[in-house]
Symmetry: C2
Subunit: 345 residues, 2 copies
């Protein structure tokens, strides 16, 4: 049995200095990282500042019984910076706040911090501030992220027009499929703790759930392929709700073709095994961290047969609604669901 | 009995749009406020970006049995931007994240939001983003704040030298005294719910606890009086711990004179009534949101008899430690205490 140190045996300042000690910076724009009242950052000349914030709550966004803390730290950063990728900006700096129950151990905190630092290294972002406070319940993580971009490069949710093509990066449903496998193994473990978890073959979907990547690489892909989306949004909630956001922001409708929704075979197989509908999960599973965007028709040559994206439909008039056309040609309105109905806990 | 609406009866998107609806902006630098993946801000030419983050946890930083939600919203903003005042920068933008239990009502959320907006108006900062998530315990609020300043104006914790004068704005211990009165009335109410709370005469200290102001005004005072501090820090934790931070950052010591600690008579009277030591509370009470700073001796003419500040001591060699000289001439080491020992709950 390991010798673990509950954080309540360590003081606030000791805890904070333990975090500060770990932080090294990657960016020349970082003048002063954590350690003063505020971080100091030199904005690149002529660029705009992008600022976003998000949170992850134990029992709502993650379950510590199967979520390794190092992965959680990585996923927190992905979650925080994905919004900036969704505006075609490069994230450069983050702050992270921890609310921890007193039973949380220093060793667990170190794992979490290691995951955050690993992600910072991967994404080349600097962790420049944060706070630790006691929590009377579980772990609550807050992240804010900053990035800079030239105004001409920034892509907002606004700009989609009728006949624009609706496109998505990567594939869908993997994070939900991974979560389902983890939940299944948790139930089995509760009933029969001696049974070894069966996770072989599920590596792809487990990674999608436990260590998803933000699409900060897509900025370069757009440049290389000469694509200028008319609008863009990151798919952190669910594809369905993000399509609704695009339509609402632009007062347009959308038609999505079921047969075009990109899904990996392992994702489809897993979802069918669970007696669920793959299309429902592609639309509402959530946490895919891909980018949804619209492209004017005259750029069709740049996006057809492009391995980095899939055309899943097109923009229509607002009166036509947000519609899924199924494989057999039927039309179904697409619903946007929030956390009140797809809470992960 | 009022008709209240628990938030679990409202969807995530309805909740978020309720927040977004309320937000108006004050600053021309705000290109895009809440409503997209990230906020867009135009950094003033030639200035540096300051970024800070903080959190307030129910049962740790506030007790909703006596803390009006509108005041809590105001105090959250004060708490978030005080760090920027502590670097002599003007806060310009904030983001706020809410984690709410499902029993929280829409009406309560509206009060909280009203307090945040009132503070935004007061401080002329723009609220440009945020998130709402369910919480399995109480209310947890996270704030990030952004400001801009010319490099030459920014004052960090680093720079204090031996013989510099140690100064503080405003007065000390008021927030703790106010908290003590509220805690006393809570106990009385529990024992005898029919007894009316006695809060007359305590307006000053209640305001210090419930609706403290960040010293964003001090930037202008420094300019007007021609004072250029060598180091500065905001006193959100406690005077004792902030003095230690200054000393640690500069590898110096400090000598503080008990008789110089600025305290209002109502604060002293309240603390004595509670059988506590006023000096202990001035040093360790916390939440005063004043600014602690050091000034080179050659600026003495600018700070003597200055109504906006009090000289409480001076910087010494590191070997001399961090010392309180009491009224009777005795020396006591000053201890820095974190939340492990002065938790408010």
């Amino acid at each position: 049995m390991e010798n673990l140190t509950p954080i309540h045996t360590v003081g606030e300042f000791e805890l904070k200095s333990r975090l500060l000690r770990a932080i090294e910076t990657h960016r020349s724009s970082t003048i002063l990282a954590a350690g003063d009242d505020a971080a100091l950052i030199q904005p690149p000349v002529g660029q705009q500042l992008l600022l976003t914030t998000d949170q992850m709550v134990e029992g709502v966004h993650f379950d510590l019984t199967y979520f390794p803390l190092k992965h959680l730290g990585y996923k927190l950063v992905t979650h925080g910076i994905s919004d900036l990728a969704g505006m075609n900006a490069t994230p450069s700096h983050i702050t992270v706040n921890f609310a921890l129950s007193s039973k949380f151990t220093l060793e667990a905190l170190d794992e979490l911090v290691a995951g955050i630092l690993y992600a910072c290294d991967d994404y080349q972002v600097d962790w420049v501030g944060g706070d630790i406070a006691p929590s009377h319940s579980g772990l609550i993580l807050n992240i804010s992220a900053v990035g800079f971009a030239h105004q001409a490069e920034i892509i907002t949710r606004k700009g989609a027009q009728k006949t624009d093509l609706l496109c998505i990066t990567g594939d869908l449903g993997g994070a939900y499929a991974g979560l389902s496998i983890l939940e299944r193994e948790k139930r089995i473990f509760k009933e029969a703790p001696s049974v070894q978890p069966e996770l072989d073959g599920f590596e792809y979907i487990l990674q999608k759930q436990l260590r998803p990547k933000a699409r900060t690489d897509f900025h370069t892909i757009l440049k290389e392929w000469g694509i200028t989306p008319s609008s863009m949004i990151d798919v952190s909630d669910s594809l369905a709700s993000e399509i609704h956001q695009i339509c609402k922001s632009n007062n347009v409708g959308a038609r999505v073709y079921e047969e075009r929704l990109p899904m990996e075979q392992i994702v489809i197989d897993t979802i069918l095994d669970l007696n669920l509908e793959p299309t429902t999960i592609a639309l509402n599973g959530g946490e895919d961290y891909e980018l949804l965007f619209t492209v004017p028709l005259d750029q069709y040559d740049h996006i057809k047969n492009n391995p980095h994206l899939t055309i899943i439909g097109h923009i229509t008039d607002a009166e036509d609604g947000v519609i899924l056309e199924s494989r057999n040609g039927n039309e179904h309105p697409i619903q946007a669901l929030g956390w009140e109905t797809n809470e992960h806990s």
